[in-house]
């Protein structure tokens, strides 16, 4: 996807207060603008026309339908549109289960665990770039499932993958884990190799995050 100068964001959220807060936070970012702030699925279907937004911040539980079905419909009309799901229940595995019906992978944040300004803005930015961002708190609590290939990762590699899943760039991962960017890159290559992901893929990070989602359990 071609990166635009100003990122056009649509917010579909039925709770008025939260919709206002999301709009305010996004508008305060110099590289983003809110092109739609919509309260329900019906209005979103009518007003969110193809080509008018780059990313949709979508609540799952809308008053007149669910945001998952709406996102599928919107993305079919505009395959370039990126989706960032928000929900109060833990629906993170949906990112995995919708991948056959979505034109590109979705990101997910929980309203209850770690929805803060920085996390939201980073998630929007990374989602617009085609990355998959998972909820930091839920990712931190996710545990590798028995008999999965994730169990073959070392603890350090697992820590790197967890942070990749939250949308952090290599520099931030290095700072968080107090290791160099080169070490982060080495860990990533090792992760791709263990999980059978080619580093020449267009989005190897996305493939790694989806595997992380697939092979972990919600703790």
């Amino acid at each position: 996807m071609v990166k635009r100068k100003i990122l056009r964001v649509a917010v579909v959220e039925d709770e008025g207060l939260l919709r206002s807060m999301l709009t305010e936070i996004i508008e305060a970012h110099p590289g983003m603008t809110v092109v739609h702030a919509l309260p329900d699925a019906t209005t979103a279907r009518r007003e969110l026309l193809p080509g008018t937004a780059d990313v949709v911040v979508m609540d799952v539980d809308l008053g007149d339908g669910n945001g998952v079905a709406l996102s599928v419909v919107l993305q079919r009309a505009d395959p370039e549109l990126r989706i960032l799901l928000l929900s109060s229940h833990n629906l993170m595995p949906l990112v995995l289960s919708v991948r056959n019906e979505a034109s590109s992978p979705w990101s997910y944040l929980s309203k209850r665990s770690s929805l803060d300004r920085a996390t939201l803005l980073r998630a929007i930015e990374r989602t617009a770039e085609g990355q998959v961002v998972l909820d930091p708190e839920l990712s931190r609590r996710a545990v590798a499932r028995a008999d999965s290939q994730l169990q073959a990762l070392s603890p350090a590699q697992m820590s790197v993958l967890r942070l990749v899943a939250t949308g952090l760039p290599n520099s931030a991962i290095g700072e968080t884990l107090e290791i160099t960017q080169r070490s982060v890159q080495n860990h990533l290559f090792a992760i791709y190799q263990t999980l059978g992901i080619s580093s020449k893929e267009a989005y190897p990070r996305v493939a790694a995050v989806l595997r992380f989602m697939q092979e972990t359990a919600s703790a």
């Binding site: 339908g65 998952v68 079905a69 595995p93 995995l96 499932r145 008999d147 972990t216």
Partner: protein, 402 residues
């Protein structure tokens, strides 16, 4: 290899008979009943002829006809009216007519077929009987035909009444289930929303009180208050959220397979889980064209949760494999969702009745939806649960409910 929970084989047999009878058209049912009754009458008539053949000398002229020909004539005399009556029934379509037309047509058919039968019998006898014998023979044949047709028509009416009752019961059940779904969703949202938020606020207030108490120097009391706040959080995180999830599983309003994925993601990490969708199941665009109603999805999820609970609690399973696919149904526009859940645990404990009581209730609910539930040994070593649920396929060009 699967076996049913208690009494399944007998019930399936009954269900099979009922489905067979229910599948017959009204005309075929009338003709079937009529054929059975008239066959009995015909056999009785042939038996009576056999008795007379031995005790009553034939009139002059009849001896020239061989015994085989006389037997054939009697059989023909009883079969021909049956064929005539059945053909007339099929043409007249009496099952669709009012009772006035039914009675009038039945009397006409019966009289015609009765006369035909008597004339054929007289041909075998090769002599003219007294008039009273002709009348009695004709009336007996006609009466048998009237009884046969009336029994057939009564059977059709009885089945129609039964169908109406079934439809009314199914409609009532559907309405109850819709209400149940709505109430489940509302209570679940209330628990997940308001109740949880109240508990969060109370816990925060307790923490604040604990700080005040600690500032006043009562550290032990402050610790107790913090313990209460922590207990409240545990209740909120555990009991309230679990109850909310049980009432209305997350994702059930999005699609069955998505909700199943969410349910399997909650299985503890030490258990390997797999979800495989067959080729037809994968072709269903579940999100924008939901194929199953919310009630049907809740039923399938209940079976999945029951199987997972049994695998973890009773079987100590380390692997759970779920397979789902769709097969063509018994009629155009119908399909059957088949879900198989295998685990590698130890199966249910000895004396399985209490453990299977939940499955028995689910089995009843599947049967109410025209489906079935079976349990047995899994090829991967533990327990296998198989559900089959018929559903009406939503065409791809119809608007979905998503």
């Amino acid at each position: 290899m699967t076996a049913a929970t208690g009494g399944r084989s007998r019930r399936r047999s009954e269900v099979g008979w009922w489905r067979t009878a229910a599948g017959l058209s009204d005309g075929v049912l009338v003709v079937g009943v009529c054929t059975v009754v008239l066959s009995q009458f015909g056999l009785a008539s042939i038996a009576q002829w056999a008795v007379w053949e031995t005790i009553e000398p034939f009139p002059a002229g009849a001896e020239s006809v061989s015994l085989a020909a006389r037997f054939g004539g009697v059989v023909l005399a009883n079969v021909a009216p049956l064929v005539v009556a059945v053909a007339a029934l099929a043409v007249a379509g009496l099952a669709r007519r009012s009772w006035t037309i039914r009675v009038a047509a039945t009397l006409g058919i019966a009289l015609a077929a009765g006369v035909l039968r008597t004339q054929l019998l007289l041909w075998v006898r090769a002599s003219a009987p007294p008039p009273w014998a002709w009348v009695i023979e004709t009336l007996s044949g006609a009466t048998a035909i009237v009884v046969a047709i009336m029994l057939g028509l009564l059977a059709v009416d009885a089945r129609r009444r039964s169908r109406v009752k079934d439809e009314v019961a199914a409609q009532a059940l559907g309405e109850l289930e819709s209400e149940e779904v709505q109430i489940r969703q509302e209570v679940s949202q209330l628990l997940h929303g308001s109740v949880q938020q109240h508990l969060v606020v109370i816990a925060a207030q307790l923490d604040h009180v604990a700080d005040l108490v600690a500032d006043a120097g009562a550290d032990d009391a402050a610790e107790q208050v913090r313990g209460l706040a922590a207990s409240l959080d545990e209740v909120r995180e555990g009991d309230v959220r679990r109850l909310s999830q049980t009432l209305f599983p997350a994702g059930v309003d999005i699609g069955l397979f998505h909700a199943a994925q969410l349910a399997l993601a909650r299985v503890p990490a030490h258990v390997a889980t797999e979800l495989h969708l067959g080729p037809l199941a994968q072709r269903f665009n579940e999100i924008t064209r939901p194929q199953l109603s919310v009630t049907e999805r809740l039923l399938e999820l209940s079976a999945l949760e029951e199987a997972v609970t049994n695998a973890l609690k009773h079987g100590d399973a380390r692997r759970i494999v779920v397979r789902a696919d769709v097969a063509p149904g018994s009629a155009p526009g119908l399909a059957v969702l088949e879900v198989t859940i295998d685990d590698d645990g130890g199966g249910p404990p000895t004396g399985t009745e209490p453990a299977l009581s939940g499955l028995a209730r689910l089995q009843t609910r599947f049967e109410q939806h025209g489906g079935e539930l079976e349990v047995g040994e899994s090829p991967i070593g533990g327990f296998r649960l198989v559900t089959r649920l018929p559903f009406a396929v939503v065409p791809q060009d119809e608007p979905g409910t998503g």
